[in-house]
């Protein structure tokens, strides 16, 4: 019997890395794979902190062949992915009138196609185990639909719809599928931005502060537990009360 393992995509920084660390710190029996495409300093540092329980997979989430090879590596290590956190993605904001097709397509690919490819890749293994947790990191943008993000908002809204639909397909196999919509979270993208803009943004948040990656990680961790077995198809927003 293969040992259960967790795969978190986009795990080099921000929410992905914090989520991986949270799992490693709160469940001593878990093994965590960090899926990363480029820039691996933080992923390597985390893997070095937990050398027996954490490994790095080179994974471009938009390519089916890379999912296949990554999961072959996991299987070769006698493990099966029973928790998948689809976190990888990027945004490339433009007003639609000026948005290059490439900016639209690449955002849809990295945020939405990736969730399809990743979920499809792990489903059979989860079905065989009769246990699985898929947690999709959507975004508050899916609900707020901000200007300049027609691509990103559409992709993340697609993730929410896909979550609900897949949840129904696999519910009877004890596999749950849920989405999380983080609002403004203290990640490098926010920290390196204009401080005045950050200050103005905080005023729009009822809690008057940005969220911490760890506060998203804690919710992901709970949704991955056996105790969360009856929660599926849900969308949880973590936004300090904005929406």
């Amino acid at each position: 019997m293969s040992a259960h393992a967790i795969l978190i995509t986009g795990a080099n920084g921000g929410i992905g890395n914090a989520t991986a660390r949270y799992f490693l710190e709160h469940d001593e029996s878990c093994y965590v794979y960090l899926g990363i495409r480029s820039g691996r300093n933080e992923a390597d540092a985390l893997a070095a902190d937990f050398p027996e329980r954490c490994g790095v997979l080179s994974l471009d989430v938009t390519k089916a062949a890379e999912w296949e090879s990554s999961l072959a590596k996991v299987a070769a290590e006698d493990r099966v992915i029973t928790v998948l956190v689809n976190n990888a993605g990027h945004h490339d904001d433009h007003l639609m009138a000026n948005m290059p097709l490439e900016a639209f397509s690449s955002v849809i690919e990295s945020n939405l196609n990736s969730v399809f490819l990743g979920s499809q890749a792990v489903l059979r293994g989860m079905m065989g185990e009769r246990f699985g947790r898929i947690i999709n990191i959507s975004s508050l943008s899916a609900l707020l639909a901000p200007l300049g993000q027609t691509n990103y908002a559409a992709a993340k809204a697609g993730v929410i719809a896909m979550t609900g639909s897949l949840a129904k397909e696999v519910a009877r196999m004890s596999i749950t599928v849920n989405a999380i919509c983080p609002g403004y979270i203290e990640t490098s993208a926010i920290e390196t931005g204009d401080p005045e803009q950050a200050k103005a943004r905080k005023k729009t948040i009822p809690m008057r502060r940005f969220g911490k990656p760890r506060e998203v990680a804690a919710a992901v961790f709970f949704l991955a537990t056996k105790d969360a077995a009856y929660i599926t198809g849900a969308t949880l927003k973590i936004d300090g009360g904005i929406f």
């Binding site: 059979r124 079905m127 065989g128 009769r130 397909e169 696999v170 009877r172 196999m173």
Partner: protein
């Protein structure tokens, strides 16, 4: 119990335990249709689960959808396919 009826029972156990069909073992005939009219009422999700369970339990991989239609007709057709895969 013959080897053949033991295999039939194992398949029925999959139907009851893995697919959580609310029926008793003796209510499932060897040739009772699994899908369609006057059947056990399996749907496409059940069929997918059944394919995965058969692969896990018997090592029989059913990747061709047309072949799956033939194999997943009844307990007997599944048992025939399992036996055939073991003999080759």
């Amino acid at each position: 119990m013959s080897e053949s009826s033991a295999l039939h029972e194992e398949i029925k156990e999959i139907l009851i335990d893995d697919l959580m069909l609310d029926v008793e073992m003796d209510e499932i005939g060897d040739e009772t249709p699994l899908m369609g009219p006057d059947s056990l009422g399996l749907d496409s999700v059940d069929a997918l689960q059944l394919v995965v369970a058969i692969e896990k339990k018997f090592g029989l991989k059913i990747s061709d959808p047309e072949a799956a239609k033939g194999i997943l007709r009844s307990v007997k057709t599944i048992a025939d396919a399992v036996r055939e895969s073991k003999s080759t």
